[in-house]
Structure formats: C-alpha cells, structure tokens
C-alpha cells in the first residue's frame, strides 16, 4: 500500500506514452519473430528433405523404361554410401507437379520422366562425377540432379534472412530499453522533489525504485498485450490472404507450438524488460544522491 501511494506516477505523461510505444515495439517484434520462427521451420523442413540427396531422372522415352530403371539400380548397388533408391510411380510424380499445375491435374496423356529418389547414408558424401560416369555408361540418357546444388544456397539465404529477422527483434529490444530509460529518467526529473523528500525521510533506494518498476511492469504488460493482439490480428490477416494466393514457390511459414509459446510470452518479456530497466535506471540515478 505504501509503495502505491508515495509517488504520483500514474498521472505522468509517460502513463499514456509508454504503453503505446511498448505496444508498437511488441507488435513489430512479434511480426519479425514470427517470420524468423516460421522461416526456421521452413529451413528445417528443407534440410530434412535434403536427406535424400539426389534424384536420377530418366526422360520419358519410347524404349522400355523397366530396363533402364533396373540398370540404374544395378549401378547404384555398386556404389558405397547409398542407403537406398526408390523409383517413384506415375502418381507420385504427378503429386510433385500438383503445386505448379493444380490439385486436379491428372497428367492426361503427358509423358512423364521416371524419377529415382536416392537416399544417402547419414554423413556420407558421394562423388557425383563418378556416379554420372558410371550411370552414363549404363544408361546414357540418365540425368543426375543433386539437390545440394540448389537447396544449399537457398537454405543459406533463408538462414541469413532469419538471422536478420532476429537482429531486428534484438534492435527493437534495444530501442525498448532506450525508451524505458528515457521515460523513467523523464519521470525521475518530473518527481525530483518528491523523490528527494522520500530519500531524506529515510526511504531506501529499493523502496523508490519499486514504485517505478511497478509502473513499468503495468505499462509493459498493457503495451505488450496490445502489441501482441495487433500482431496476432495481422498474422491471421496475412495468413488468410496467403491462403487465397496460388504461390507454391513461397515457403510455408507455419509456427509450431513452441514458436507460438515464444510469441505468446512476448508481453511478459516486454514487461520484465521494462521492469528491470526501470529499476536499474532509478537505482543508478539514486546512487548519485548521498
């Protein structure tokens, strides 16, 4: 009760200002964090699919395909480091085309290449040139497509973008710290006389700081919840728009439960950060008093 009464902080100009600033920062941080976490999930999925390291493609041809497939498997059986190879059927090959040609596409009479998905043993690398040479000797029109060639730069790019998104979150955090320092300092200056009175009446620094940190906690929670609500609304809006778009090349940025929990904890993090920063700012200012 005493803590609540001693300083008139609730009437401050920062009372209106700080929750909105924190709300805006949490909004931006939530969007950047959602993007970073979603991209992280996409990278994980891409990396997982990278496990089947290469595909062997046999162009649709008039010659009997069975013979070529058997020949390819025979070559692969002799190469160390290959865990297995699966020949995709026509239906599976069609599924791969559906993102580009639509769900209802049945291939019609379109000749499709035969695809053989080659799984590598974990941790093993393959001499692609040696594989190509062996295959071309057995099946001249076989083409080896390593996913590493295009997936690795894509993952590297996505990883860089994700790092940038985290950097944006960190910068927003720093800006939030600076804002709380500024508003707390302003409030300290505005209540200088009352603070000196408490100090001279025998109040410990912690007693005075407690009032500022309590105010910062309320502002942080209010702003944080507002920002998170705005970010949630924006996320739902973007997700709805994205669902209506036929954009199969764009990565799916869905959030797992851990990601959602991290986002949901942002208001608490904002409130905690504001509380700690306000306390440290006040204690630092009071330490200059005798």
């Amino acid at each position: 009760m005493a803590v609540r009464w001693s300083l008139p902080l609730s009437g401050d100009s920062t009372d209106l200002f700080l929750p909105w600033i924190i709300g805006l920062m949490v909004f931006m941080a939530a969007l950047a964090l959602a993007f970073a976490l979603g991209l992280g999930g996409a990278i994980a999925r891409w990396s997982e699919s990278h496990g089947s390291a290469l595909t062997i493609e046999l162009p649709a041809a008039s010659v009997a395909e069975d013979g070529r497939v058997v020949a390819v498997h025979a070559v692969l059986d002799d190469i160390p480091g290959i865990a297995g190879a699966i020949t995709l059927g026509r239906n599976e090959a069609l599924k791969l085309l559906q993102p580009w040609l639509g769900e209802g596409f049945d291939g019609g009479g379109l000749p499709l290449p035969v695809l053989i998905d080659v799984q590598l043993e974990p941790g093993k690398t393959l001499d692609l040139e040696a594989l190509r040479t062996s295959l071309s000797a057995a099946v001249p029109d076989a083409r080896v497509e390593s996913r590493e060639g295009w997936l690795a730069p894509l993952i590297a790019t996505a990883d860089t973008i994700r790092t940038l998104a985290y950097a944006v979150v960190a910068l927003i955090g720093l800006a939030a710290v600076a804002t709380v320092v500024f508003t707390t300092s302003t409030s300290l200056a505005a209540h200088q006389d009352a603070i000196e009175l408490l100090h001279l009446t025998g109040a410990y620094d912690g007693f005075i700081a407690q009032q500022f940190q309590r105010q910062a906690l309320i502002h942080g929670l209010l702003g944080g919840l507002t920002g998170l609500a705005l970010a949630g609304g924006s996320y739902v809006l973007v997700a709805r728009v994205a669902a209506r778009m036929a954009a199969p090349l764009l990565p799916r940025l869905s959030l797992d439960p851990l990601g959602l929990a991290i986002l949901a904890s942002l208001p608490l993090a904002a409130a905690g950060l504001a509380t700690i920063v306000a306390r440290l700012t006040v204690l630092r200012a009071l330490s200059r008093l005798p």
């Binding site: 008139p8 025998g202 005798p290």
Partner: protein
C-alpha cells in the same frame, strides 16, 4: 548528538558556502540558527539532514562518523531526523493523513499503528477536520502544521526546521515555535533556522549565528574543538 569539525562545503567549482565550521549540539538542546538570507543556513541544515556530504571536515551524528558510514546505512540515520521545510514539501496527490503518515509507511510500520499515531498528531496540530483533504486546499499555516506533524510522527531524535515561519504571519510563527519548544521539552533536539531574530530572542534558547559561511554564537565563534 551532532558534531561538526572543520566542515567546509562548496557546490561544484563555486566559492565555499561553509568554511571551517565547527560546533557541537548536545542531546536535548534547542538552537536557533540565525543569519541573513544567503548566509548558508540551508546549506548547513542540508548537511545535518544528510542531503549532502561535506567537501571537507568531519560530521558526527548519533555517534556515527558520517565519512565512515556506508551509503546503505544512511537511511536508518535519516529516520531519526525530522525535517520541516520552508516550502512544506507536501505531496499534493496525498491526503493530509497520508502526508503525515509518510515516514511511518516508509519505515514499514503496520497500518493499525500508523492510524493511531496519525490520529494523535492530527489532534495535536488541530487538523482533524482536514484529515482527508488534499494539501492544495489548505492555508500556508495549515500546510506548515501538516509538515510539522509529518516531521515528528516517527518520534525523531533530531528535528531540523528550515525557516518554518518564513511564510507565516508573526502570530502563527510564534505558535509554531512554541510547538517546537514543546517537542524539545520531551527530549527532541531541535535546530530551527530563521532570519527573524526578533522571534529567536523571545525564547531562552541558544543561538547559532551564521555569516559568510562561518558559525558563531553570541558574536563568539562556536568552536568546542575536541
């Protein structure tokens, strides 16, 4: 109770406001601190209520050498000092009751005891009818009585008053000084700064004269060096 030994004070690079001040206040004494405006009365009081540390010299209060007292132990000493400011320093967002109760709340005293003490003090200063009023509606005399009640509610050993009668008419000033004299009778050491020497001469108390940053008594320098 209070011992100053060769104490000097300057603010930043400005000239010294107190120079080589040495005096000793006995427990239970009453001193008027008199001198013209700007002589250093407030600076001397600020040293006594631990709002500043001296630039030079040694201050001993309640038997503690302040230069050797760590900062975190000073609040406990400050709780033994009551201060009455010339400008009252009341908190306008609090009621009269809450202003008076402030030192006890800071000291963490429980509400029941606080209420009991505040009621007693409100009666003593004659402001029971203003218990729930905000200071903004009080007259200067009433504000000063609230400030006095706040200063004494924690039963301080030392009461310091900085020009407490400066904003009051002579009659009210006299009555307030009589309040301080009552407190002194029950053992509180009192130092009351005033530029009104005609008020001081009406009471049989010692006088600390301050001029040009130096303290003397009755024209003699107060220098009971150890």
């Amino acid at each position: 109770m209070v011992r100053f030994q060769s104490v000097s004070l300057r603010y930043g690079n400005r000239p010294q406001v107190l120079r080589d001040v040495t005096f000793h206040l006995e427990t239970g004494s009453f001193h008027f601190l008199v001198g013209p405006s700007g002589a250093g009365k407030t600076s001397l009081l600020r040293l006594m209520f631990l709002a500043r540390r001296p630039t030079r010299g040694a201050i001993t209060m309640f038997g503690r050498d302040l230069s050797k007292t760590p900062r975190h132990e000073l609040p406990a000493l400050r709780r033994r000092i009551g201060i009455v400011f010339q400008d009252f320093r009341l908190l306008d967002h609090l009621t009269v009751v809450d202003n008076i109760a402030l030192p006890l709340r800071i000291a963490g005293i429980r509400d029941g005891v606080v209420r009991e003490h505040v009621t007693e003090l409100l009666t003593w200063v004659g402001l029971t009818h203003h218990a729930d009023s905000k200071p903004t509606i009080l007259s200067d005399g009433e504000k000063q009585r609230v400030a006095i009640a706040r200063a004494v509610i924690a039963r301080p050993s030392l009461l310091l008053a900085d020009e407490p009668t400066g904003n009051l008419d002579p009659d009210l000033g006299l009555r307030l000084t009589q309040l301080f004299a009552e407190l002194n009778k029950i053992g509180t050491t009192v130092v009351m700064a005033t530029h009104n020497e005609s008020l001081a001469v009406r009471f049989p108390f010692a006088t600390l004269q301050i001029a040009e940053g130096q303290v003397t008594q009755g024209g003699r320098r107060v220098a009971p060096l150890i």
